[in-house]
């Protein structure tokens, strides 16, 4: 049924980005084929169109890249901080200049709406480099003693949900502190990292300081295991995070792990309801819910449950799902067929366990990977959808009666990454925030990020912090 005010298509132009038919690995300042010549295809999840074919790194390539980073380390770390800073400032500026191109590229390769890449991912990427650029010559003042030393070669493995932003979170602090980098982007989203390699060349970054290895999990594992890697930084699943922790046991490798979550978004009966509804939507449907800090568990006070759910469903019915390049799209594609089947399986489990499913009424495109915004009501702590990370646009709704119960339920999780609190009572915000075992807490807001703000989890959500002054520690020998 067409609304009277039917927004005409408003697609962002694809012509701002020029994707080559094939890409190599970026090692020692050059694009190069994989040693064994292997390649893989990357597709646009909204259409299943093949975007490009990229080299698939193997063990030998990992070794080449780590050696290049090691060679580059001596000079790079000896460079005065003020000079390292200039490279990072250059990178930040080039990202700003090329932000439209990169936003379109990221939307094509990842499937997320252009609204998000344009207004969230890219501005944050540039801001992150700008922020850490300024630290490079001020490390003496960071609280880690005089002349803190870098660790050496950082092996970094990043996920597909925020490809370029996670790259920025990893590379910016590593370079600012004087480390060199070998980074492996996720196999479903390799392109923005390869474009970043080009930005490094434009910025004149010395060869070998940043190396990009596109590939699969085997390349990531080889990188983590490489004896000449001094630092491991990983963002991804808790299962892989645990495997990495075992791999590096008994070594001197320092690690930061940003892993899964099952964030509780707690709505009290005195919440600013309209803003809370927006926060719930942002919390779980931003980036199709493929966010480790998503507010995937809504804990709503019983006395306002019906009112909040009514408003929430009404609001979800206005979400616009479709072409990620359309500037009016709110919900884009799921990143891969594999992720879509994982989401579908968990949702089936939820239904089988007796939770009540509701999906927003929207048509799904025939090609590509799509999942309608969905919520489960009648969920208890015993349901799998209340405990397992779904990593998709699926919200589990639970209720509570008192603040104590809300805190107990929120903390009843193996994870501890994020949480939300919605109440107009200031003292309650502070009391509840104090009791929640989570690394990032949003009070009367959700899913806000900033380069100055440390991010990271408690418990099985990982350890170490990225962002802010705290984020430097992970890359310094302190």
């Amino acid at each position: 049924m067409a609304s009277a005010f039917d927004y005409a298509p408003a697609p962002e132009s694809r012509s701002v980005v020029d994707i080559a038919p094939s890409y190599g690995l970026f090692i020692d300042g050059e694009f190069t084929d994989a040693a064994d010549g292997k390649v893989f295809k990357t597709v646009s999840p909204s259409t299943e169109e093949v975007l490009s074919e990229v080299a698939r790194a193997g063990t030998e390539d990992v070794d080449r890249a780590v050696k290049a980073a090691r060679r580059a380390f001596e000079k790079w770390s000896a460079l005065p901080g003020s000079e390292r800073a200039k490279y990072l400032f250059r990178i930040a500026r080039i990202i700003q200049e090329r932000s439209r191109e990169l936003a379109v590229l990221e939307t094509l390769d990842n499937g997320k709406p252009i609204k998000e890449t344009r207004d969230a991912d890219l501005p944050l990427v540039a801001a992150h480099f700008f922020y850490y650029a300024g630290w490079a010559d001020k490390l003496d003042h960071a609280g880690y003693g005089q002349n803190p030393r870098p660790l050496g070669v950082a092996g970094q493995v990043i996920p597909w949900n925020f490809p370029l932003l996670m790259l920025a979170w990893k590379i910016a602090p590593a370079l600012a502190t004087g480390n060199t980098v070998v980074l492996k982007p996720a196999e479903t989203t390799p392109l923005s990292a390869l474009f970043f390699a080009d930005i490094c060349r434009q910025a004149g970054l010395p060869k070998g300081v940043v190396n990009i290895l596109t590939g699969y999990g085997d390349a990531g594992a080889a990188l983590v295991e490489h004896p000449d890697v001094d630092k491991v930084a990983f963002t991804g699943s808790t299962a892989v995070g645990k495997a990495i922790a075992r791999q590096i046991a008994g070594t001197d490798k320092k690690a930061t792990l940003e892993l899964g979550g099952k964030g509780a978004n707690i709505v009290f009966d005195d919440a600013p309801v309209d803003q809370a509804v927006e926060g719930i939507v942002t919390g779980i449907f931003f980036n199709q819910g493929q966010v480790c800090c998503a507010g995937s568990r809504l804990l709503v006070q019983e006395s306002v449950h019906d009112e909040v759910l009514h408003s929430l469903k009404r609001r979800l019915s206005t979400l616009r799902l479709g072409d990620p390049l359309d500037k009016n799209t709110d919900i884009g594609a799921i990143n891969s067929a594999e992720q879509l089947s994982r989401i579908s399986a968990l949702v089936e489990t939820g239904e089988a366990e007796g939770a009540e499913r509701w999906s927003a009424p929207c048509e799904l495109p025939s090609a590509g990977y799509w999942f309608a915004p969905t919520l489960f009501t009648g969920v208890t702590q015993a349901h799998a959808v209340a405990r397992d990370e779904i990593f998709g646009p699926v919200l589990s709704v639970l209720t509570f009666r008192t603040p104590d119960e809300a805190v107990a339920k929120a903390n009843n999780s193996q994870y501890g990454l994020s949480a939300g609190i919605w109440t107009e009572k200031g003292s309650r915000i502070l009391a509840v925030a104090n009791k929640l075992r989570a690394g990032v807490i949003w009070a009367n807001t959700f899913n806000k990020f900033d380069p100055t703000s440390p991010f990271g989890g408690y418990k099985e959500s990982g350890f170490g912090r990225e962002g802010g002054r705290h984020g430097l520690e992970a890359y310094l020998d302190v």
């Binding site: 922790a245 046991a249 009070a443």
Partner: protein
């Protein structure tokens, strides 16, 4: 038979949940001085004692982490006061345990007392040193504060039975963590006596739990325990294979691991810095909207 008075021997016991139990296993082992002379029998704790200690530490965590930093500082200072009063006892025990002269042992005990004082002062300062406001680009007040990680297993150093022990335990509890401590296997007596001091220092029961026994036997179940949040492997410094095995086990629930440091066997007297405090802290960052005072700030 002389008329000389016979000394009353002490039965050394564990310190768990504020009480002094024997090992549930009923086992003891002989503790000797550096020349092999029998000093006492120490309880040989079992994995069940370790389990009980974790339960006690978890139970104590809410209260201790929720206590004010000032209060924790007062308690830690009280420990120093109590130790000062039992200085002679600890000098004798440390001298026996480590084969040191009375003078050398006294210096270590004095340093240990001073270490409690040092960490007592840190309780209400570490938050300001490692936390703070973050100037985010938006209408938000954003504050990062350190919080204790939770229940921490501490493998106390093997060769520094008292100063080393205090140097690893005090920073863990100063920030609000609770601890399950595995004492030096061969020299556990000063650690067990420390339990008696802690019990009379206003430290809530369960905040520190002290086990004696075989390090590997106790550490394995604690490293894999799903309700332990972190592990300090200092006491495994001499055994890299054990340290690695424990680190692998710790990955099951992603415990924070403090790997054995080169400091073991070296000089515990140096000023420790903040590293052992921050190793068992989590950073919590809270965002609050600020906005304008009224509705007039908005425009398009």
């Amino acid at each position: 038979m002389s008329d000389e008075r016979r000394r009353v021997f002490k039965t050394y016991k564990l310190y768990v949940g504020g009480k002094f139990p024997r090992s549930e296993s009923g086992r003891v082992y002989e503790v000797t001085d550096s020349k092999g002379k029998w000093l006492a029998n120490a309880p040989q704790s079992s994995r069940k004692d370790a389990r009980d200690a974790v339960v006690a530490a978890r139970k104590a965590f809410g209260g201790w982490s929720g206590a004010t930093a000032y209060n924790r500082g007062q308690v830690l200072y009280r420990v120093a006061e109590m130790l000062e009063g039992r200085r002679e006892q600890f000098v004798r025990e440390v001298a026996d345990a480590e084969g040191l002269s009375k003078a050398r042992a006294a210096a270590l005990v004095d340093a240990a007392v001073d270490r409690w004082v040092w960490y007592a002062g840190w309780t209400d300062k570490i938050g300001q040193v490692v936390g703070g406001a973050n100037p985010v680009a938006g209408p938000f007040f954003n504050l990062s504060t350190p919080e204790p990680t939770g229940v921490v297993t501490v493998l106390a150093p093997q060769d520094s039975s008292f100063l080393g022990l205090v140097s690893v335990v005090a920073p863990v509890i100063a920030t609000g963590n609770t601890a399950v401590v595995i004492a030096s296997a061969d020299a556990p007596l000063p650690a067990l006596s420390l339990g008696e001091v802690l019990a009379t220092s206003d430290l809530p029961g369960g905040v520190v739990n002290i086990l004696s026994g075989r390090t590997a036997e106790l550490a394995a179940p604690l490293a894999s325990h799903q309700d332990v949040n972190a592990i300090d492997l200092t006491g495994a410094a001499g055994d890299p294979a054990l340290a690695k095995e424990l680190e692998v086990a710790a990955a099951d629930n992603l415990k924070r691991v403090l790997r054995p440091q080169a400091v073991d066997g070296a000089d515990w007297s140096a000023e420790p810095g903040t590293r052992r405090l921050t190793a068992f802290l989590e950073t919590k960052t809270v965002w609050h909207p600020t906005g304008a005072l009224g509705a007039s700030g908005s425009s398009y």
